[in-house]
């Protein structure tokens, strides 16, 4: 089981959830999260709704955040949960997302809200529903944790 969470880390997550509740990101709702500060499981589940006027209009996706005890110095593990995984050129069919702020460009000043906003924007700017070109190869070889992947960020268009 995971190491006990430092108080500072738990407090920050709690603060983020409070802020998320006070100022929700449009199209994003909190489904479930750790109930108390002492909770060792830090899975936070969000529901992301496809925005109106985009190709994902009306669809709903489950997004899971999992923080380790190094959060916020290390990025959270963020994956879409089956069964409904958005068809997007940067989202693999196992739910892994190729997004620079979840890897090399992570900063501890980023928050759950900021990541959600980024993902909503990534979905909204997409014009064509398709999987990444290396999807089949990736899902066979990838670890469960997207953070174990060495991501290449080469497409800034979507």
């Amino acid at each position: 089981m995971a190491a006990p969470f430092p108080v500072s880390c738990a407090r920050r997550i709690q603060k983020e959830l409070t802020a998320l509740h006070a100022e929700p990101v449009p199209g994003v709702t909190l489904k479930s999260g750790p109930d108390t500060l002492a909770d060792k499981s830090t899975d936070i589940n969000m529901i992301i709704k496809g925005a109106e006027g985009t190709i994902y209009n009306g669809e709903e996706f489950n997004l899971r955040f999992r923080m380790n005890e190094r959060y916020p110095f290390e990025s959270p593990e963020v994956v879409f949960q089956p069964p409904n995984i958005p068809l997007h050129p940067h989202i693999y069919s196992n739910g892994h997302i190729c997004l620079s702020i979840l890897g090399n460009d992570w900063s501890p000043a980023l928050t759950i809200s900021a990541v959600c906003l980024s993902i909503v924007s990534m979905l909204s700017s997409c014009k064509e529903k398709k999987r990444p070109p290396d999807d089949q190869f990736y899902i066979r070889t990838a670890s469960m944790n997207p953070k174990a992947t060495r991501w290449m960020y080469h497409d800034d268009n979507v």
């Binding site: 920050r12 709690q14 983020e16 802020a19 006070a22 500060l37 501890p108 000043a109």
Partner: protein, 204 residues
């Protein structure tokens, strides 16, 4: 006005359950050790732990952090690639400014797992000293005038140019106090003496 702001926490608590819009300005106090007092207070939160800053420091780009938080972040990146978590401007530990409030907190040293904050940058005023004498302007090495004098420390520089020769001349008595070298003395002698002095300084 003062009464109003003092009463704010209790009124916001009453309203938060009935009026959801109210939460934007007065977030509920639950989940933090100190009550949030609205957006004005949030301005002074650490950008990393989102709490009230402990050993606050500010980056040159103006972003506020706890020193322990920022230190932990800086430690994760090689020197030279460190960036501000908020704006990605270049940042390094020598270029953050500690903030000192009037009442410094009684910090628990057990929590001090990180080195203390960097020192504040203070620059002394660098004008001419109180005993500045224009006659000795050319002399870098003054044998009597300033050594241990009330002006402070003992300064000595060795350079190439006319001034060290003036100084040597003054030291060896070839010159009056105006710092004039008598004409006719071959400069090679002074060069030799200067070289000997340099060797003496280096090896003894």
């Amino acid at each position: 006005m003062v009464l109003e702001s003092v009463n704010l926490p209790s009124t916001s608590k009453d309203n938060s359950s009935t009026d959801p819009d109210r939460k934007k300005t007065d977030p509920p106090a639950s989940g933090s050790d100190q009550p949030d007092k609205g957006d004005v207070e949030n301005v002074f939160e650490c950008n990393i732990c989102l709490g009230s800053p402990n050993d606050p420091v500010i980056s040159l780009c103006g972003h506020l952090f706890c020193w322990p938080c920022l230190h932990e972040w800086l430690e994760m990146k090689p020197v030279g690639t460190q960036t501000c978590p908020v704006c990605k401007a270049a940042i390094d530990r020598e270029k953050v400014i500690p903030l000192f409030g009037r009442n410094s907190k009684g910090e628990d040293p057990r929590n001090k797992a990180v080195p203390p904050r960097p020192h504040a940058h203070r620059t002394e005023h660098t004008g001419p000293g109180p005993y500045h004498n224009p006659l000795f302007e050319g002399a870098n090495f003054l044998p009597f005038g300033t050594l241990g004098g009330p002006g402070g420390g003992f300064h000595m520089t060795i350079g190439i140019g006319a001034s060290p020769f003036h100084a040597l001349g003054a030291m060896l008595g070839f010159t009056n106090f105006a710092g004039q070298v008598p004409p006719g003395l071959p400069s090679q002698i002074f060069l030799g003496i200067a070289m000997m002095m340099i060797f003496w300084l280096i090896f003894f």
